[in-house]
């Protein structure tokens, strides 16, 4: 079941095309990474899902229904450019934002109490936002994003501006929200976050979707059948059967070499060849990192 289905969306601005026939499915309950270089069209897509703007053509479905005003309260949105009313008090501000998302004042009050205890920010209630540090403001904004317990949470670069301790806190909250059944869309170009958290990804480049699917499958797809081995000794004659890529010298005379296997040869065969020759310390397949995949996918697309 998909919580969001984007079908053939195109969006033009006066002098450029922001999205070109983009279709993406976002399965319910996953953490979905929306990747792409700056200016690729991520924010445009997010704004369409948030109903801030509408597509020129194409459709969006939320939970199988055409996206409409009633879905607003089911979405929580943390934009990349954070902002709060500077002169408003933290408590009042959160109450207001929660009410705009459809909570009653009492409901909002109760939920806020829980979050204020959880984040240990009880003393902030009557503080003016301008008296808080940037990191503190981000925490407040995170609370406002998830307070109404939305089914879909859209986070645009959620960790920018957080120190490592608070970033961890937010990361744990995101995982907890996923446990509770929320779907989370991450828009980011921090690949380590994607590596760690995302189940599914889509990569947008130059207004087009170039890649999407479960992260594991994509990694599988980008594997190059290359293995690494750390060893002591010499790989005599290996370059006839295998393609040896770069070799690095490690400590204690150990070397590390990447070996590319022809399609017909298995890893087991390579190991059998290696065993009599060298002293093996470690062996494994080179799984491409998200960063590698990102770079490759983006570079494969020629400049328009």
């Amino acid at each position: 079941m998909n919580i969001i289905e984007v079908q053939n969306i195109t969006k033009d601005y006066s002098n450029h095309r922001a999205l070109d026939d983009v279709s993406i499915n976002i399965p319910k309950g996953c953490i979905f990474g929306l990747l792409g270089p700056n200016g690729a069209g991520k924010t445009s897509l997010i704004r369409i899902i948030n109903q801030i703007t509408g597509p020129d053509s194409g459709k969006v479905f939320f939970d199988g229904e055409p996206l409409g005003p009633k879905h607003i309260s089911k979405i929580g949105y943390l934009p990349e450019e954070r902002g709060l009313y500077k002169k408003m008090k933290v408590g009042e501000q959160l109450l207001y934002l929660a009410q705009l998302k459809g909570l009653t004042k009492n409901e909002a009050m109760e939920k806020l109490k829980i979050w204020f205890v959880k984040f240990d920010i009880k003393t902030w209630w009557d503080k003016s936002v301008s008296d808080l540090s940037k990191g503190m403001q981000q925490k407040v904004q995170f609370v406002s994003t998830v307070l109404h317990e939305p089914d879909l949470i859209i986070l645009d670069e959620p960790f920018s501006g957080f120190d490592p301790i608070n970033a961890n806190l937010i990361r744990d909250e995101i995982l907890e929200l996923k446990q509770k059944g929320s779907t989370i869309i991450f828009s980011t170009h921090r690949m380590e976050t994607v590596e760690e958290l995302c189940d599914n990804i889509a990569l947008i480049h130059r207004a087009k979707k170039v890649l999407d699917g479960p992260k594991m499958l994509i990694k599988e797809q980008f594997k190059t059948n290359t293995f690494f081995v750390e060893y002591r000794g010499l790989l005599n004659g290996f370059d006839q059967k295998y393609q040896l890529e770069k070799t690095i010298v490690l400590e204690n005379d150990f070397l590390r070499t990447n070996i590319h296997l022809p399609a017909t040869v298995t890893a087991n065969e390579l190991l059998t060849d290696l065993l009599p020759q060298v002293e093996i310390r470690a062996f494994g397949e080179n799984i491409p990192t998200m960063s590698d995949i990102f770079m490759r996918a983006v570079n494969e697309i020629p400049e328009a």
Binding site: S14, R47, N50, Q51, I52, T53, G54, D56, I72, S73, I75, Y77, L78, P79, E81, R82, G83, L84, Y85, K86, K87, M88, Y96, L97, Q99, L100, K101, Q141, S144
Partner: protein, 442 residues
Amino acid sequence: MRNILLVIQREYMVRVKKKSFLIMTILAPVLFVGGYALVIWMAISSVDSKTVQVVDESGLFTDEFKDSESLKFSYVKGSIDSAKAQFKDSQANALVYIPANVIASPKSVRIYAPKNVSMELKSEIEKVIEKQIENIKLSEAGITHKILEDSRVNVSSETISLSEEGEKTSSSGAATIIGGICAFLIYMSVFIYGTQVMRGVTEEKTSRIVEVIISSVKPYQLMMGKIIGVALVGLTQFVLWIFLTVSLTALATTVLSSKMPKDSQQIQQEMGKMQKGMPASNMPGGNVDNPVAEVLGAVNSLNIPLIIGCFLFYYLGGYLFYSALFGAVGAAVDNDADTQQFMLPITLPIIFSFVFAQFVLRDPDGNLAFWTSMIPFTSPIIMMVRIPFGVPAWQIALSMVLLVLGFIGTIWIASRIYRVGILMYGKKVTYKELAKWIFYKV
């Protein structure tokens, strides 16, 4: 609908809770009434009497200087030199010397005083001398005091407006004052509250909260909520000002008159003078009809319910018309400093209407008056100037319809610019681009 109410509530509460709002709301009436009361207080309490010695060599002024509450006169016999010598030891505040040939050379009158004498004292003394010389000269020419008195006539005409309902006493003076006040209030509030809308929009834009808000509220709702919220702030401030001014005036009057019960008559009179805007003492004596009563009578002759109704309509209409445009400007720029370039076309018609108002006051039924009271850019101010003078019903109706169409139009245009502008950052916008935004599909 729920969301627009929430926005209105926030915009209203945030502004009403501000310290500057409280200070302005309380301070303005306090200063107004306080200044007023202070002037009256001074007028009442400055009655410490001064003594003036008179050396009258001409002998024409015996008993002509009458003691008043503030001035006591005493005549000194002998030469001016001895009088001057004695003056230093006496407690008198001034010494007036009238030479024997005063009629021939009136400029030879001298006032001696230890310090400079006040203008008031000087003119008082000069007045007495001038009047006496005038009298003497007139009687020399054979004109008696009686003839003189009779020749002073006071003309005060009443304007009677002829209408189907019959004759009605009207007062162009009162109409001018009421029209002017209404126009000024609308002018001020369009400026003050229109700019508040604009500031509010830029604040949301610069603080970047706007993207979060419009993921829950339609931009149109956000803009209208802000406009209505600020309008309510304005109304609240007006109501509080009127209430505070009235009750403070009542309080001040009670305090002042209880302090000096015997002078309460005078307070009334002083207030009357000030309300009339010109000192009653300038009028020829004996003919001071109660000016307050005159104004009140004239005011009663005006169609007060119509004026109040129209005032509310044009106040709100003018505000809606302009605040939408101010809001659009706020959305088109990145910060307050950039608003200037777009402000001019908006503020110009407002300022022009206020300038036109002066001419319309002189000729409330002329061509200029008619056209400027129809065009929505100027009608809120100009029509309010005309209404106290009486305007045909069809003109009022047409002007109102045009104003409603006008503000629907500006709100539509503003909301088109607004929805594009609030998400547009870091770009200097030109008028051409603004025009394009109106037709964008978002």
